[in-house]
């Protein structure tokens, strides 16, 4: 009975949490990251899978797609579609410079019982008070902020699109993410709520996992400045992930907060 109940709770939590909270890997994969020409188009795949970068599990939903243009303004994707295994959208690079493309999920989730019935809710900190009923009992609240990002540059790389919001876990490039080359070292910084995220464990996996026997993951830990360095062993599309749990909640009832970050980075050959 006890085991069954624990399992049920675990499953319920897993189901309620955004897709990134599962063991699967969420990712955005742009058709190319270094682009030239007048107002060229790129296309981006968005999926959640175990293998990189193959569509074989579920699509990554595009409801919270945020595209930041080189001048810092927000852009809309074109031709968005979500299929059985992946979502896809196009983007025209009208401006020259670096674009940040991300799916940013900022949720508050709750489990509660009402009139003896077990219920689940997902919303935001703003809607929590009005949507979770006042007579709810055994309320368990969790918060989650996750970002799944990638970067694309047309022409000269720029940095304005990197401007952090100061909420949750954010990636602050020191080395430009569209200036990565095999055999060279790159430095990146992470911050939590605008402050350096020290001691963060980073996992980096190169794509094409279907054609090799091991993940060959690269591990790194951020220093006191929230920075870490990675030397790219070879060219390819890489998946970078890190996460963190803390108690800096915005809804007083929340037990804790889970922060996740994923980036897809392309490393070019020399």
């Amino acid at each position: 009975m006890n085991i069954k109940r624990t399992l049920a709770i675990a499953l319920a939590i897993a189901a309620a949490a955004p897709t990134i909270a599962s063991a699967h890997k969420a990712w955005l994969r742009p058709s190319q990251t270094v682009v030239a020409g007048e107002a060229p188009w790129i296309t981006v795949d968005a999926a959640v899978s175990n293998d990189l970068f193959y569509f074989n599990h579920v699509p990554l939903r595009l409801d919270n797609l945020v595209i930041t243009a080189p001048d810092g303004t927000a852009l809309e994707a074109a031709n968005s579609a979500t299929g059985k295994y992946r979502s896809v959208f196009d983007l025209q690079l009208v401006q020259e410079g670096t674009y940040r493309i991300g799916v940013v999920n900022n949720y508050v989730t709750a489990r509660y019982t009402q009139n003896g019935e077990s219920k689940r809710w997902r919303g935001t900190a703003a809607t929590f008070a009005s949507e979770v009923p006042k007579d709810a009992k055994d309320v368990e609240v969790n918060e989650s902020i996750s970002r799944v990002e990638t970067f694309v540059t047309r022409g000269t790389p720029s940095e304005k699109a990197f401007a952090p919001e100061g909420t949750g876990l954010e990636f602050v490039p020191v080395t430009h993410p569209n200036d990565l080359y095999a055999g060279e070292a790159a430095t990146f910084r992470f911050q939590v709520d605008g402050k350096p995220a020290a001691g963060l464990e980073i996992e980096i996996v190169r794509g094409g996992t279907r054609y090799r026997n091991a993940q060959d993951e690269i591990k790194a830990t951020t220093d006191a400045n929230g920075e870490f360095q990675v030397t790219w062993p070879e060219a390819g599309m890489y998946w970078l992930e890190t996460s963190l749990s803390d108690d800096k909640v915005s809804v007083p009832e929340a037990r804790g907060r889970r922060l996740g970050y994923v980036a897809t980075l392309e490393v070019l050959p020399q």
Binding site: V35, A36, P40, D179, L268, Q270
Partner: protein, 170 residues
């Protein structure tokens, strides 16, 4: 009268070596392939920090086609794009030009050319990068000293997308 003129000309040719520039010859090899497209080629000078200090020539498809603008594929000249191309507003007068057919192509850059005249004395590398649609990519380097105190020559032999590349400063 005639011998005198010859002597005068010879005298002019004997001016200090610094007055001459770079003589570059780039061979685009003939290919036996079913689908051939002329390569994109970039020729530039790097300093000892691998920084591009002078673009000498970039040959690419400058016309628009049904497949889009030829400039779309310039990042395939990977090193050149990283070192210089992505910072440029293309096309560049005196640098960019249309693709060239298989054969030997000579490039003479006069010492008075602003791209050479501005170079500080030191060690440099001539870099030639070629990439071909549905083909491969090759990059060759020839080091040289600028300005040339004595005649210099260098040669690099390509094996796929480039043939022989020679550089002479005399």
């Amino acid at each position: 009268m005639r011998p005198r003129l010859t002597i005068a000309l010879t005298g002019m040719l004997a001016l200090p070596a610094a007055a001459t520039g770079l003589d570059i010859e780039v061979e685009i090899p003939r290919m036996k392939v079913a689908e051939y497209h002329r390569p994109y080629v970039a020729i530039w000078i790097e300093n000892s920090d691998s920084k591009a200090v002078a673009d000498l020539a970039v040959w690419y498809m400058m016309k628009d086609t049904a497949e889009g603008k030829g400039s779309k594929w310039l990042p395939d000249l990977r090193q050149w794009w990283r070192r210089s191309g992505r910072m440029l507003d293309l096309p560049v007068d005196g640098v960019t030009g249309p693709t060239r057919p298989a054969g030997n192509h000579a490039l003479n850059i006069d010492a008075a050319d602003p791209r050479l005249a501005k170079l500080a004395p030191g060690d440099y590398t001539l870099v030639v990068e070629a990439v071909r649609e549905v083909g491969g990519r090759e990059l060759l380097k020839i080091p040289f000293k600028w300005p040339a105190a004595a005649p210099q020559s260098g040669k690099a032999q390509g094996s796929s997308e480039l043939g022989t590349v020679t550089l002479s400063l005399d």
